[in-house]
């Protein structure tokens, strides 16, 4: 639902970096998205195609590296993937967890010509 605002911010960031590098065309944008953000890749691509029309990022492909939510147990220190509806450490059963991955929302790199 919030993809339009996120895509617009991402597009601004991509354009700023591309201009700084003196690029003529942006071919690819590599994104890292944590699954906890609820951002839907297809939706971002759809908005991106629309927003980038007539710019040097027109036609760029977006690549999404989705990061599943991971937690670290605060009791036994083990790392594990956080499953839906089950927020307990699979090793010791503790439900005191620190979320260590899954909230990412950044541009890793862009590929330009």
């Amino acid at each position: 639902m919030h993809e339009l605002a996120i895509t617009q911010s991402m597009f601004d960031l991509v354009m700023e970096q591309a201009r700084k590098a003196g690029a003529k065309r942006v071919g690819k944008v590599n994104l890292v998205i944590g699954e906890m953000t609820g951002v839907v890749g297809d939706c971002v691509q759809f908005y991106f195609n629309f927003i980038s029309r007539g710019t040097l990022a027109e036609g760029a492909t977006l690549s999404f590296m989705m990061v599943p939510p991971k937690a670290q147990c605060q009791r036994c220190d083990k790392l594990f993937e956080l499953k839906e509806f089950d927020w307990a450490c699979p090793f010791c059963g503790s439900n005191s967890l620190q979320i260590v991955a899954g909230k990412e929302l950044f541009v890793d790199s862009i590929e330009v010509e």
Binding site: H2, S9, A23, V107, I110, E113
Partner: protein
């Protein structure tokens, strides 16, 4: 050629939120971002807070909605300064919208600013406004599985209010399991059980609020 960027997509919003925060701090305003699903009771909580803190602190309100000014009209009856933001389709407030609302409020006359975000448990979690605390209003009829469905929102909240607690005898809701799930992914969270209809627990919420304001 590949260019490493490694930049947060919402960094522009974060910067703007930082500027809002500076503006609020310079005027001595404590700001709270109230978030919830539609109908959880944000507006009722604001009205109840205004009524009970009358004479104790000076309150201002920002009302965020996709459309209509119904909430702002309800709040303006309480004779506190209120600004309505209509997002025109956007499902959350962002720092830029908050800034324009701040410019339309008499900040020098406000000590506590209550910002009612758009009713939505997903999008507002991502967009900082410059607030000092994030408050999530959850309510009994929504069910106790919400932390599992919207973990980011529950992870980011400073306070979770379990509203409509007077409905507990009529609905299936395990407050202990609910609280335990939240605390699992959010160590700092404060949880209060309240009812804006009966007034139960509202005093605890207000004490927390006043205490936070004093501490600054």
């Amino acid at each position: 050629m590949e260019i490493k960027v490694l930049k947060d997509i919402l960094s522009a919003n974060e910067q703007m939120a930082g500027r809002n925060r500076q503006l609020l701090d310079s005027q001595g305003v404590f700001a709270v971002n109230l978030m919830s699903s539609p109908g959880a009771g944000k507006t009722s909580l604001i009205l109840e807070t205004i009524r009970r803190l009358e004479g104790k602190t000076r309150i201002g309100v920002i009302e965020g909605d996709v459309s209509s000014s119904l909430d702002a009209e309800a709040v303006s009856k309480e004779s506190v300064p209120v600004v309505q933001i209509n997002t025109g389709g956007e499902c959350h407030l962002d720092a830029n919208m908050a800034y324009s609302a701040l410019s339309n409020l008499p900040l020098q006359d406000i000590e506590l600013l209550l910002i009612e975000n758009v009713g939505n448990l997903i999008c507002p979690a991502e967009f900082a406004l410059g607030e000092h605390k994030k408050v999530l209003v959850s309510s009994i009829p929504e069910g106790d599985d919400k932390p599992f469905k919207y973990p980011l929102m529950f992870h980011k909240a400073d306070v979770v209010l379990i509203n409509k607690i007077d409905l507990l005898p009529y609905l299936k809701f395990d407050t202990q399991a609910f609280s335990q799930a939240i605390r699992g992914i959010n160590k700092k969270v404060e949880i209060f059980q309240i009812s804006c209809a009966t007034g139960q627990g509202v005093q605890e919420w207000l004490s927390w609020l006043l205490n936070q304001m004093r501490r600054r």
